[in-house]
């Protein structure tokens, strides 16, 4: 029996091919591209009630930290290869180093290190949703504290 004579079988074969093709293209793309890292440095304090309009999308996220004033003082983006590092200068002589490790189930695994000069302050490994973010806060700065919004995107 010729497999291609039956329209139903032909359709099933085409569907299977379509699935395999999309899967292989997706896997190839994921393997080649690196990770776009975006670090927003926010100064939070109680010295005023000003809320930076540039942070309006993060209003809900910042609410929980309970400071009265939030100001975006620096924003930096870098593209990092898988298992390669990206270093970001943070106000106060600090450095944030991010190493994207793997991408699985729509989540990126990131190794994050915060240093003050040569002194390590924090080492953590997190799994973050693609295009998602998390906040790293606490380092004091100009009468307030710094909050780092760390987001990562891969295509």
């Amino acid at each position: 029996m010729n497999l291609l004579e039956n329209p139903l079988r032909l359709t099933l074969l085409f569907s299977l091919w379509l699935l395999l093709l999309s899967g292989s293209i997706d896997a190839a793309e994921k393997g080649q591209q690196g990770v776009q890292l975006n670090i927003g440095t926010i100064l939070a304090s109680n010295e005023s009630d000003d809320f930076d309009a540039k942070l309006s999308k993060m209003n809900n996220q910042l609410e929980v930290i309970k400071y009265s004033s939030y100001r975006l003082i620096k924003e930096e983006s870098q593209k990092a290869p898988w298992n390669g590092n990206a270093a970001f200068e943070i106000p106060g002589g600090r450095t944030l180093t991010v190493i994207p490790q793997e991408y699985r189930n729509n989540r990126l695994s990131l190794k994050v290190r915060l240093q003050e000069g040569e002194k390590p302050l924090l080492d953590t490994t997190v799994r973050i949703r693609n295009r998602g973010n998390f906040l790293l806060g606490g380092p004091p700065h100009e009468g307030g504290v710094l909050i780092l919004s760390i987001s990562a995107t891969t295509q």
Binding site: P7, A44, N60, Q61, I65, Y67, L122, R129, F134, G137
Partner: protein, 181 residues
Amino acid sequence: MKIDCEAIKSSLGAWLDGELSHPEAEQIRVHVQECPACFGEKEQLERLQASLKGALEARASRLAFEPFWDGVHRRILEKSPWRERLWDWVRPAIYPQRLAWAIPVVIVFLLGIISLEQFFPGWRWGSSRSNATTVDSIDGHGLNVAVFRESKTKTTVIWLFENQEDEDESSGESAPTDSSF
């Protein structure tokens, strides 16, 4: 010839009812004209049919068909429930062969949903809707570390602070204002 007669006799009823194709009917007609046995069989069958028809017609004339036809007419005019009408409309489309088109459509639809996030960065679907970050390991190198999650957006916050005493002192305040390194 006997075999032919048997075959003809078995088809006589269908022939008399006009159910045979033209060549078959013609073949039987010719045979019946030439074969006395089959002709007799045909005559007998015709008489039987005529007597049955007469008996049925006599009975039918006594039956009241008006209520029956009224019922049929009413059923025709009656509006069927929307579920039945929907089923009547859908039924032809779900025969297996006609359903073949649905398979690639479903696959393309699912692939489209999965790909939506690439085209619309704000789009989130299924489990990926949560912004929750999983912390696999954490080391504060002597500093205290707190990990908590904002409830509305499920944002994970990692907070560094130098010592617990300072935090305790500030716990009555609205914010951790005295973090120092």
